[in-house]
């Protein structure tokens, strides 16, 4: 196998800054010193790998993965699907994708969430899957509700699903959030507005996908995820030395 090269540098003007005044929690949790730039070594170009022994086949079906037998989660039934790609548009196969979300009423199953919307006894709110050989993944779930949070007095999160992806290297590790086309809360969200470019916000917004909808059953949204790409060849003599 030819040695592959470094990952492309993260575009720090495309990602949110650490310090974002209108997302108040970031103020005391943002480093003030510059990040120290590190050329990739073996520590960054490697990362954990996961296989089908790590998860169960039903882990990607949030409508049923926490439901009592014969029951199912309440809410608008949706498919969330797409591909994990790299910046060279190549699929990232066999990588772990984990998601978590509020229920259809906007309530999380978490001991720290005290919002008055009810817990759904048949909805846990998390799922996981491994991309196939083409980088494809899918989940079945219910569309999460919007919920209020303490930033300004009247701040509401748009409907969103949290997404965690590994890729093949620790340098590709990413957590993000997926939003839904047409949500009127999107332009008002202080967390979404940490993303500096409008095109970046659009990249985080899943499109209604009528082609993947199951008629009379489940609506679909498509959400492609892009991880850092890498050079195909090493320009240095060897990353690892001898």
């Amino acid at each position: 196998m030819p040695l592959k090269g470094e990952f492309y540098q993260r575009d720090r003007e495309w990602h949110p800054k650490a310090y974002t005044h209108d997302y108040k929690t970031s103020v005391a949790r943002s480093p003030r010193q510059s990040l120290i730039s590190l050329e990739n070594t073996v520590s960054e170009i490697t990362g954990p790998r996961f296989g089908h022994g790590d998860i169960d086949p039903g882990d990607n079906d949030l409508i049923y993965n926490y439901a009592q037998s014969g029951e199912s989660a309440i809410g608008e039934r949706i498919i969330l699907h797409g591909r994990v790609l790299d910046e060279n548009a190549r699929p990232v196969p066999n990588t772990l994708v984990e998601i978590w979300q509020a229920n259809a009423g906007g309530r999380y199953r978490h001991k720290k969430d005290t919002y008055l919307a009810p817990i759904d006894p048949n909805f846990g709110g998390c799922g996981r899957t491994i991309t196939d050989e083409n980088g494809y993944y899918f989940f079945r779930t219910v569309k999460p509700g919007a919920y209020p949070w303490r930033n300004w007095v009247n701040s509401w999160r748009p409907a969103h699903i949290h997404v965690s992806i590994f890729g093949t290297a620790f340098a590709q590790r990413l957590i993000t959030q997926c939003y839904f086309e047409g949500d009127p809360l999107i332009p008002h969200c202080p967390i979404l507005k940490t993303v500096p470019m409008q095109e970046g916000i659009e990249q985080l917004t899943a499109a209604l996908d009528l082609n993947a909808t199951i008629p009379l059953d489940t609506i679909a949204y498509k959400f492609d995820i892009v991880l850092r790409g890498r050079r195909s060849t090493l320009f240095e003599n060897r990353l690892e030395g001898n």
Partner: protein, 204 residues
């Protein structure tokens, strides 16, 4: 106009938020859903080397412990091999080198058990001193923070990454302190997000 480059853009990062545990450590969120949670056993039963515990706090710019952090660790085994096809060598059966922990909701303490990693190859024929790569996410952290933990009782003098930090006095923020408690080796590593003694974070 010039030709358009056809690269895709990396998906922008968003904060893990306060409920990260639901997705990545549901047991800690208060419910039992998966047959097995991932990342609780870093080294496995067969790994060679010194068994150690690593623990610490993540402290915010006001000096308060952050109580809703999730940390991931990535490390080589005692022979300096990562469990990955691009690292030369073999790891012991059951050694994954990857761990995931959350902080205690009341105290902010986090910790994990593992084996001490060995030195690994660096760039340009150099050698990197033993270290554990850490990735930190939480509510209020917009892009996951990368740092490294080194060991105070190892020879770190030739490490190319530490030596690449221009501000010599900041290098010590990456050095874990060795203690022993009840016969167990414990390395203490507090992470300061901001202000006095701010930990060095890397753009990897």
């Amino acid at each position: 106009m010039v030709q358009k480059l056809d690269y895709l853009k990396e998906t922008p990062s968003q904060t893990a938020g306060p409920y990260v545990h639901i997705g990545l450590a549901p047991g800690a969120a208060g419910f039992d859903i998966y047959k097995q949670e991932l990342g609780w056993d870093i080294a496995g039963p067969n790994a060679a080397g010194e068994r150690i515990r690593v623990q610490g706090l993540v402290i915010d710019g006001m000096g308060a412990p952050v109580k809703d952090v999730l940390l991931e660790a990535w490390q080589a085994n005692a022979s300096g091999v990562y469990a990955h096809e691009e690292s030369t060598g073999e790891v012991e059966d059951g050694f994954r080198g990857w761990g995931r922990v959350i902080t205690d909701f009341d105290t902010g303490e986090w910790g994990f058990d593992t084996v001490k990693p060995g030195p690994v190859p660096g760039r340009y024929g150099s050698t990197q001193a033993p270290h554990i790569n850490l990735w930190i996410v939480a509510r209020g952290i917009n892009v996951g923070l990368n740092t490294r933990l080194y060991f105070e009782d190892e020879d770190n003098s030739a490490d190319p990454v530490l030596n690449g930090i221009e501000w010599v006095n900041r290098r010590s923020t990456l050095i874990a302190k060795r203690t022993e408690r009840e016969g167990k080796v414990v390395y203490r590593f507090d992470i300061r997000l901001q202000g006095e003694g701010e930990t060095v974070f890397f753009d990897i």
